[in-house]
């Protein structure tokens, strides 16, 4: 099934539609650019270009093979691959819409056969996945407080049936401190973890090679980036000038134009608050290793939203198409978010630890100074800056980034005194 098709210039070519029929099978129909029914779809070549010389998909024959294999498998082939055990459909709620990747190498491959069959045994063909995705989206939007009225009604309708999945936010292991910051518990890893980027990561730097790390203790981490309102409790005069007309100073926007020294001063102030002292809480900036571990959400994901590239809708606040059009700079093609500058914190999907904006919106300071990772070859410094404590490591990515960074790469190295509107 392919749905609406456009050529590389964005010109509408055709629409392919599935409709459930009375006998529980699906019908497939294809409409041309004028909206008229046609029997065979347009084909694309490996470059995604329209390729009239290649065979298209026939509505009557080709779609059903994959989509209805579950109820139509009577081949009884004794040499067919062994069936895999059926996993529980709702065993685990995905924290984000997962990547669904079916490459051509799978079509005649045992693993794909098994995947399709195990999926189909429990669901309405391969479309069964939409059930868990809807629950995932409703749970995510509930936590973001961004349910539309209709989504709210769906959430309330489904909650009695799936109470363990539509879990309220209150059940997250978290605490709220005396200035209203919410912090979530990041558990220690069960085993040794790997920190640093792999050489195959396009943003990998030679001195950031992956290496093992033993993180023995868990910690709490702020659920959201520090907002201007929170920062103004520490520094009432904090004010961020607009950037090319964009307002960056809203109470619920992240505090930017903050140097490493400013961030550390905020931490020091927090540690001196009587209520925090009485509660026995001590604050510090995370190391870059802690930041990376937390961003990976406990499952080693490549990006805070998962492994998918490009990022799915709702992944974060990046330089999207509107940003590119407005500022005539590089942007993430095909991606849209509702914000040109920084967004209010917590408007995008969190990672599995319920940390928001770990990708996009604004860079984050870490306490780590600029140094090569263990085992890095000599002379492999990524930039022109010398190693040393005068430089501090930034992590995450910002509203002006067209290429959001993976969890494992540094966003930049900045003088501890420098302030920019991205961090």
């Amino acid at each position: 099934m392919r749905a609406e098709s456009f050529d590389k210039k964005g010109v509408f070519i055709e629409a392919e539609v599935l409709r459930k029929r009375g006998d529980s099978f699906w019908d497939f129909s294809i409409y041309d650019r004028n909206g008229a029914l046609i029997p065979v779809s347009v084909a694309f070549n490996d470059d995604g270009e329209v390729a009239p010389e290649l065979p298209g998909f026939k509505a009557a024959q080709d779609c059903a093979s994959c989509h209805r294999i579950d109820r139509l498998d009577l081949s009884g082939d004794p040499e067919a691959p062994a069936r895999v055990p059926v996993r529980a459909f709702f065993h685990k709620l995905p924290a984000r819409v997962p990547q669904i990747h079916l490459g051509p190498e799978y079509y005649d491959h045992m693993a794909f056969t098994e995947l399709t069959e195990s999926n189909a045994k429990q669901k309405d063909g391969v479309f069964g996945v939409y059930g868990s995705l809807l629950l995932s989206e409703l749970a995510g939007r509930k936590r973001l407080a961004s349910l539309t009225d209709k989504d709210k009604a769906r959430y309330n309708l489904l909650r009695p049936y799936y109470p363990e999945l539509l879990t309220p936010l209150d059940r997250i292991d978290s605490l709220t401190n005396s200035i209203g910051m919410r912090l979530v518990r990041i558990p220690p890893p069960a085993r040794k973890i790997t920190i640093g980027s792999h050489i195959s990561d396009p943003q990998h730097q030679p001195d950031e090679q992956s290496h093992p790390l033993y993180l023995r203790q868990g910690f709490f981490m702020a659920m959201h980036k520090q907002t201007n309102a929170e920062f103004r409790k520490f520094r009432p005069g904090h004010h961020v000038a607009p950037y090319r007309g964009l307002k960056l100073d809203g109470d619920d926007q992240p505090a930017v134009n903050v140097s490493y020294g400013d961030a550390q001063a905020f931490v020091d102030w927090l540690n001196q608050l009587p209520a925090e002292r009485a509660a026995g809480r001590t604050y510090r900036l995370p190391t870059e290793e802690e930041w990376e571990y937390a961003a990976q959400g406990g499952d080693g994901r490549r990006f805070p939203w998962g492994d998918q590239w490009p990022p799915p809708e709702g992944a974060g606040n990046f330089a999207d198409e509107a940003s590119g059009a407005q500022f005539k700079w590089e942007y993430l093609h095909g991606y849209r978010d509702p914000y040109l500058g920084t967004s209010p914190v917590g408007k995008f999907f969190p990672n599995p630890y319920f940390l928001y904006d770990m990708a996009g919106n604004a860079y984050e300071w870490t306490s780590s100074y600029y140094k090569p990772y263990p085992g890095a070859p000599k002379g492999s410094a990524a930039g022109t800056k010398p190693y040393g404590s005068q430089w501090r490591v930034l992590r995450g990515s910002s509203w002006a980034d067209e290429l959001p960074r993976s969890c494992a790469v540094r966003s930049g190295i900045l003088s501890r005194l420098k302030r920019v509107c991205h961090s």
Binding site: M1, R2, A3, E4, E16, V17, L18, R19, K20, R21, G22, D23, F25, D27, S29, G35, L37, P39, D47, G48, K58, A60, Q61, D62, S65, C66, R68, I69, R71, L72, L74, S75, D77, P81, V97, Q99, I100, H101, L102, P104, D108, H109, T113, Q122, D124, F127, V129, Y130, G131, L133, L134, K150, D151, R154, L157, L158, Y161, P310, P312, E313
Partner: protein, 192 residues
């Protein structure tokens, strides 16, 4: 060695006897190019078209029920006694397009259905008519699912009405833990 040879001979005779027992009103389904891994897909395509030919309503003869499909070893057959006579005649007619006439191939079925599929399934006659009933474009009431598939070499965003998914989720437990979308559910989307 001699004894083993006799056993093998006996087994061959028995197997040959089973094949000879296929009733004359069983139409053999030929799936050219079948392999261990693709036989599922080829069979699914054939059976889907057969179901469409027999009818698309809940009251239509169900291909997977009523002993319409028979199996011997790896081979599938249509028991023509189990389908309405006029449809059995159509199936014989399709099978007669190519030799052997007592065998109906996926190609024969595909060629026949290509001309009649829309007539049998009665889709919306135009995309505009479909969109009037199912306004899936830029609609927050439709779930959007990005799918990265090498099949089409482009990222797709699929859309399905959230209320239809909710219906399926509610009936999930009554349907023996299966997610069954209600009749009329539409899935659409676009390639980026």
């Amino acid at each position: 060695m001699s004894l083993m040879g006799h056993f093998r001979f006996a087994a061959t005779l028995l197997f040959g006897g089973m094949l000879a027992a296929v009733p004359t009103n069983w139409l053999h389904i030929a799936l050219a190019g079948r392999t261990v891994h693709n036989s599922h897909y080829l069979a699914a395509s054939f059976l889907y078209q057969l179901q469409t030919l027999l009818g698309t309503d809940a009251s239509s003869p169900q291909v997977m029920q009523g002993r319409i499909i028979r199996r011997q070893g790896k081979e599938l057959y249509i028991d023509l006694d189990q389908v309405p006579p006029e449809r059995a005649a159509v199936l014989r007619q399709i099978a007669a397009q190519q030799q052997p006439a007592g065998e109906i191939s996926l190609d024969e079925m595909g060629a026949y259905m290509a001309k009649r599929y829309y007539q049998l399934t009665r889709p919306y006659p135009t995309l505009q008519a479909l969109l009037r009933d199912h306004p899936y474009r830029d609609n927050p009431n439709w779930l959007t699912v990005p799918v990265d598939s090498e099949t089409f070499h482009r990222l797709r965003v699929l859309r399905i009405n959230k209320d239809r998914i909710a219906d399926a989720l509610i009936s999930y437990f009554d349907n023996n833990d299966r997610l069954i979308y209600p009749k009329g559910t539409v899935i659409a989307g676009r390639i980026l």
